[in-house]
Symmetry: C2
Subunit: 580 residues, 2 copies
């Protein structure tokens, strides 16, 4: 037990650490840190928080996850979608820039940490499976569009704000005439540069002689070049005096660790937003972790991941920052840059801490338009419209859920969008599992096989109805079976024997047993017989514990063929005895 | 279309109505009405409402249901559990006896009506399946105990109130010394009489020469005898002056139909209680309807039932009354008394209306203790503790859900109890459906059959892993399959081929397809092959629409045996070619 607890606290990678792992991890850490500095500032802007907050959120949380999580290369920190959700949640609580707003962000991180940790410790990670991947993709695509649109104001130097597509487009339309020329120039230049690098960068660098991997990583550092260039331009041409919004002073220093304090009232308001942020953050993170883990035969444990992310969020709250999660782009860069263990994340955290201590004065003249451009380019890569066409071709119900989630998110904002997505997923799941697949089967002549009467030429007898139940029976679907039998009995009045072929029934829960008991009782009243065939061993063991098996109006048969021939023989002999 | 709409509005029974049906229905109506008058007064007391309100709730709603519902014998009106839930919901809104309290009850009926009607029109009746029957039984047993305890105060003539077991027992304990002797005598006499009739009544009456059915019905009218006797005793001995609480003046008249008016604020407070009342009311009603329907080969349609109950609740709201639903005892009496069509309910409604016009002055001296005694006897018949033992023997997880729901209801009251029950049901359902049954199978030598390696002596090959998937694959369980394969690959590194035997897979949704695509992609990277066998026709048709089948790293086989022998042959020939 003690050993287990220890291995839980000190991750496995620490034991086998060596110099080579250290060097690989360090190189990856430097590359990730360089990418993270502008990214953190950009997400702080997206969340409506001071820039240093997101730098803090990229230090302690990385270490917490490295010690408790299971993915060796997942990089934790503020990400675009949870930052937007944070700003949407806080819009109802306080004005951006006030102390109350920051307290709100810390409260969200605390609640999110407690929830994730609690779910992990209660081993409820499986619940995340109930968020349909289709619905999550829809939500992310729509959110990415909203995020991109919300940043247009920084590129134009205007105030156009909004929570959904219509508000944003309307506000941008009205205010676009107030755009600041210099801001627009910087924004468009950065956008053009970033899109160009994304499109042609790797090819050009490879032609220039770089290896494929180096070219890939160099292209990923394009935002850093954009940041440095725009700082220099803004400083040189004194653009801040010509209306270009800049980041300004960022307090140097390290996060002050403190136990977060907040009001119960705030907790009540932020409880549901925190739950939604946790869900989306977790689902995104585990999918990134699994994708990267698969490439290295590394198993990602969903409950351990919840614990890791919970600890990361709590440590973010203790550093006075916002909710964090495993990010896609940062983790991929970490992986591609050669990180071998969680050590890379720890070194990244140290480098970011050093940057917040010494580098922030250099970012004074960084135009907000540049940050907005990096966000736009980053999130537009999350937009995947091909899934609309794919689901349309594959399944109309998936397609409908997808389109509805996209429309809800675009039309009513991210909070409504994700709530809608969760409810849609659950409703889809409930609907699908409420009707077990049940087929009426008949004998394939000359064999002992029974097949669906709708698809095969099979032998049936009017007095016998055989239903093959293709799923486990439990409270949610058992009454569907009851209805099905009832309908068959009404439409085929000759039926005297009903055989349930249970070859695919792995479980019969207590409510389903009650349904079977009720069916059996009714059958007896009406002079019908209920037979069971091919019942699996464990199911039979359980049924034998109850009075049901003794009261069964028909028989229990090892195979369906035995059941069918036996009942046919009985029908035949009773027909003979009735004749004279 | 017009014809369909008309048949929807005018129920089928009207067309074939004749004199004999009329007579049968009328007799049943008289018997039900006699039983309903004291029952309505009792439930009004339970709900904390004036007595006439429950008489109104037993008129228009019966007619509305008769015209729109599907069960021919279901009798709609106020029932014990929804009356208790009404009083629990209104406790937070207003004091009993105030106009605000009554407005609250009407609001609950309106909201409940709208919800039920909406769910019915949207054809969402299947959602009720997700309330586990085990959990509903637990809730009803616990609620019945709380209702019985809540009525003890009327039998003792004290004020002891409370929402849960502890509060009630505590209050009764403190105040029992204040009990009024005459009230206690009346209460205990009624209780003794009713229990005696329930236990021995039918037997005694049958011995006295009555037929079984007449004896049954006569025994059911015991509460009416109790009511008449206690009115006479109270009047004769002037017990009202000696501290016995009586019903007092009931305004004579008919309900005033009016469109209910209420505040948005009230709606917000009562929305969730109304939803819970609707759920419990609907689940109870449909189970009564199905039980009675089964005895007459009558199909009860869940969506039509929702519409019928929704209309009944709306008409109750328009009459200024509380939420109603199909009651068990009243429907059974209606059925046993020989009702053949919904006409019986309409005549019952007319008789109750006549009673509210002319009979109420006669009820002036009715002691509340008598009504309390009838409630106690009625609800104690709902208590079913045997289910605790049965579920314990059958399934521990069902037993746990049951005990937890009972404890939540007894410990925290009906509202918490039912919310808890709904959440527990859903969590159980989600947990069970998140892990598809997957078995590793091998060849039964000498046959073409494949069986679970854990249960049978079968032939396997280290390079081949065959998994039989026993359920449809969709978003909630597909990643479980992924994890399972991953674990097998880690523990059995010799595996080069994975065959998914899909004989029981009826559906693969888009999210599950994505999981399969991702698996296939990874397999290719690692030099493994993914094969499919025994894929059902409709599933295959769909898969063929996507690029997945072209990219499949392994083969597609009609039978598992073909897959196994083919891959074995390939392994053998490649082993031979590697030898030299």
């Amino acid at each position: 037990m003690a050993k287990h607890a220890a291995s839980f606290l000190v991750a496995g990678w620490v034991k086998h650490y060596n110099k080579q792992s250290f060097l690989s991890d360090l190189i990856a850490a430097v590359i990730v840190a360089i990418m993270l500095i502008p990214q953190s500032l950009a997400y702080a802007m997206l969340a409506g928080l001071p820039p240093e907050v997101c730098l803090y959120a990229s230090t302690a949380p990385l270490i917490a996850y490295a010690l408790l999580g299971t993915s060796s290369t997942l990089s934790v920190g503020p990400v675009a979608i949870t930052s937007l959700m944070t700003s949407a949640a806080l819009a109802e609580v306080a004005q951006q820039g006030t102390a109350g707003y920051l307290t709100g962000a810390i409260t969200l991180a605390t609640l999110s940490g407690i929830m994730l940790l609690g779910f992990g410790l209660l081993r409820l990670g499986f619940l995340a499976n109930f968020l349909s991947h289709t619905v999550v993709s829809a939500f992310i695509t729509a959110s990415a569009l909203i995020i991109a649109l919300s940043q247009v104001r920084h590129v134009l130097g205007i105030e156009a704000e909004g929570d959904n597509l219509f508000e944003l487009v309307h506000a941008i339309g009205i205010q676009s005439s107030d755009a600041n020329l210099y801001t627009v120039l910087i924004g468009l230049a950065t956008l053009t540069f970033l899109f160009a690098v994304r499109t042609w960068g790797v090819g050009v660098l490879q032609k220039a002689g770089l290896s494929a991997r180096t070219a890939e990583l160099a292209a990923k550092s394009a935002p850093v070049i954009g940041v440095i260039a725009s700082i220099l331009v803004t400083f040189r041409f004194e653009l801040a005096d010509r209306g270009v919004a800049i980041v300004g002073e960022i307090p140097t220093g390290l996060p002050m660790f403190a136990v977060p304090t907040f009001s119960l009232e705030l907790v009540e308001i932020l409880l549901i937003p925190a739950a939604l942020i946790s869900i989306i953050g977790y689902v995104e993170s585990i999918s990134v972790g699994r994708t990267l883990g698969a490439r290295r035969q590394e198993r990602v444990d969903s409950n351990r991941e919840l614990v890791g992310l919970g600890a990361a969020n709590l440590s973010s709250a203790f550093s006075g920052a916002l909710p964090v999660t495993g990010g896609f782009s940062r983790s991929v860069v970490n992986f591609d840059a050669g990180a071998v263990t969680q050590g890379a994340s720890i070194y990244t955290a140290i480098l970011i801490a050093l940057a917040s201590l010494f580098l922030t004065p250099a970012l004074y003249f960084l135009p907000k338009a540049t940050l907005a451009a990096t966000i736009i380019v980053a999130v537009l890569s999350l937009v995947d419209l091909s899934i609309i066409r794919k689901t349309w071709r594959y399944s109309r119900s998936d397609n409908l859920a997808l389109l509805m989630t996209i429309c809800a998110t675009l039309g009513f904002g991210v909070e409504t969008g994700v709530s809608f997505g969760v409810v849609t997923s659950l409703a889809l799941h409930l609907y699908r599992t409420s009707r077990p697949h049940i087929a009426e089967v008949g004998l394939v002549e000359g064999t002992e096989h029974f097949r669906n009467v709708r698809r095969y030429e099979v032998k049936t007898v009017p007095e016998i109805l055989t239903l093959r139940v293709d799923e486990s029976l439990f409270f949610a679907n058992a009454s569907f079976l009851e209805d099905e039998i009832f309908m068959k009995l009404t439409s085929q009045p000759a039926i005297r024997h009903v055989i349930l072929m249970c070859s695919a029934v792995n479980e019969v829960d207590f409510s389903a047993l009650e349904v079977l008991e009720e069916l059996n009782r009714r059958f007896e009243e009406q002079g019908l017989a209920l037979h069971l065939s091919e019942v699996k061993g464990p199911v039979l063991d359980r049924l034998h514990r109850m009075a049901f098996m003794d009261r069964l109006s028909g028989g229990l048969y090892f195979t369906q063929h035995q059941a069918f021939t036996d009942i046919c023989a009985r029908l035949h002999s009773s027909a003979l005895s009735e004749k004279p």
